[in-house]
């Protein structure tokens, strides 16, 4: 069967219960919003293929249950992820404070070089806001993670959040490939060399891109 994409990235959405992980994913994959969502039990996923600088990138995005009880199940899926979205709800102080715990969770369970991003969701609900944008930015600086405020409901920044994360993963991946194959990177045959590199899976990263 012909491959319909150049890269496959596995992404993960984590964060407290009710912050809008499923809504963010639904906005990104179906470009729609549904007020009547059911709570996620266990783990779910959606797929969308995007075009990134002329490359077809297939995003396989895993959505997890937020409640702590599910953590034994969900952390098992941190390992294979190349990018993780940490989501909090700007109208819920507690969900913001918990981002630190979620980061610790990533450090314990995910690959060391996983790309991360913090999303402050529900920024359309200005009247109910409990966490200022500045505090979000501050936290992001502290952990050196990119940050953006989103609204799945108003379709604000959801698209660009996923594109940013995907672009960062792609850049990191290509840098790795160049590092392990410096001659190819400088010559005009870069593209072909890069493909050859992909064919023999040396690291888990290149193995993923093969799929």
């Amino acid at each position: 069967m012909a491959k319909t994409y150049d890269y496959l990235f596995k992404l993960l959405l984590i964060g407290d219960s009710g912050v809008g992980k499923t809504s963010i994913l639904f906005r990104f994959s179906e470009d729609a919003f549904n007020i009547s969502f059911i709570s996620t039990i266990g783990i779910d996923f959606k797929i969308r293929t995007i075009d990134l600088d002329g490359k077809k990138v297939k995003l396989q995005i895993w959505d997890t249950a937020g409640q702590e009880r599910f953590r034994t199940i969900t952390t098992a899926y941190y390992r294979g992820s190349m990018g993780i979205m940490l989501v909090y709800d700007v109208t819920n102080e507690k969900s913001f404070e918990n981002i630190k715990n979620w980061i610790r969770n990533i450090e314990e369970n995910a690959s060391a070089d996983v790309e991360k991003m913090i999303l402050g969701n529900k920024c359309d609900l200005e009247a109910k806001r409990q966490v200022s944008k500045e505090r979000g930015e501050q936290l992001a600086v502290e952990y050196q993670i990119k940050f953006i405020e989103t609204s799945a409901k108003d379709s604000l920044n959801v698209e660009s959040a996923f594109y940013t994360l995907a672009r960062d993963i792609k850049a990191k991946m290509e840098k790795k490939q160049e590092a392990s194959n410096p001659a190819g990177a400088r010559s005009g045959a870069h593209q072909i060399r890069a493909n050859e590199q992909q064919r023999k899976p040396t690291s888990w990263l290149s193995r993923c891109s093969l799929l």
Partner: protein, 330 residues
Amino acid sequence: MSLQKSVKSAGGDRSEQGDTTSICSSVTTQPDRHGFFGGAQYSPEPKRTVSPSTILKREQKWLRMLNNWEAFMSKNYKKVRERCIPASVRPKAWLYLCGGQLLLEKHPNEYEELLQAPGDPKCMEDIRKDLHRQFPYHEMFIREEGLGQQELFSVLKAYSVLNPKVGYFQAQAPVAAFLLMHMPAVLQRDGDILHALLRRTAPAVHRHLVKHKVEPVLYATEWFLCALTRTLPWDSLLRVWDCFLCEGVKVLFKAALVILAGALGPAKVRKRACGLCETLEVLRHPPEGILGEDYLMYHMQRLNLTEEDFEFEHQRQTARRRAMPNRSGS
């Protein structure tokens, strides 16, 4: 019934909230016979009819049984599973089957007392966050602060106060507080048992799942934790729960095995589902036919799995889990 009131105003509330957002599945103003206005479990077609006299006969039989419950259950409880419980008797029958009647007689005021207690604030907050996220298209739950959501809150709160160690677990909500308290480690073992049984009942499907690394936690978590309430059409669900309350959790395993074999049984489906995500997609939306009441009940029977088979796998998988210190979960 007091529920009727919330139905009438439901349509108005929805459009008020819905004007700035797109509602994805179609929502009607007329609920189906189970009270759904839309969503995956909405089934507008009328059920095939059973003659009124047959229904009447069944009802009388059940009422007789319920009046002599002790004697009946000790003598021939197996008969319970062979008969579909008539809708009108079902609430009472389920109360007896799950032992609720007995407890109710023993502690007549306990429920009210539990509701008076303050409750753990973290638990109460978690419950509130989930009240509208269970059956959003059902007439009982469609209205915020409506009766259905209030009652759900009460049941979940009462349980969390009664059993503070378990407290509130998100999977309780879809089936309210009455539920098998599976914790993740147990769940993983249940997944192993399911796969081991599948290997016997549908080897080709089992091979396919192993090949594509489709682990049970990925598709069976919701099936088991919500006791199929989010998976089956309502008629099938009621029927499966009739059995579930009689025979216990192995009914859920049997239903899961039938769904797996039904969905991935055809070789051409397996060929098309040539990866982890593709396979999960098939299992997330199994063909409607195999979720139907008759198909499901018939094939669950035909699996021919005995009490001993379950016991054997249970022992074996428990021992196997115990031998893997790093993966034992909790």
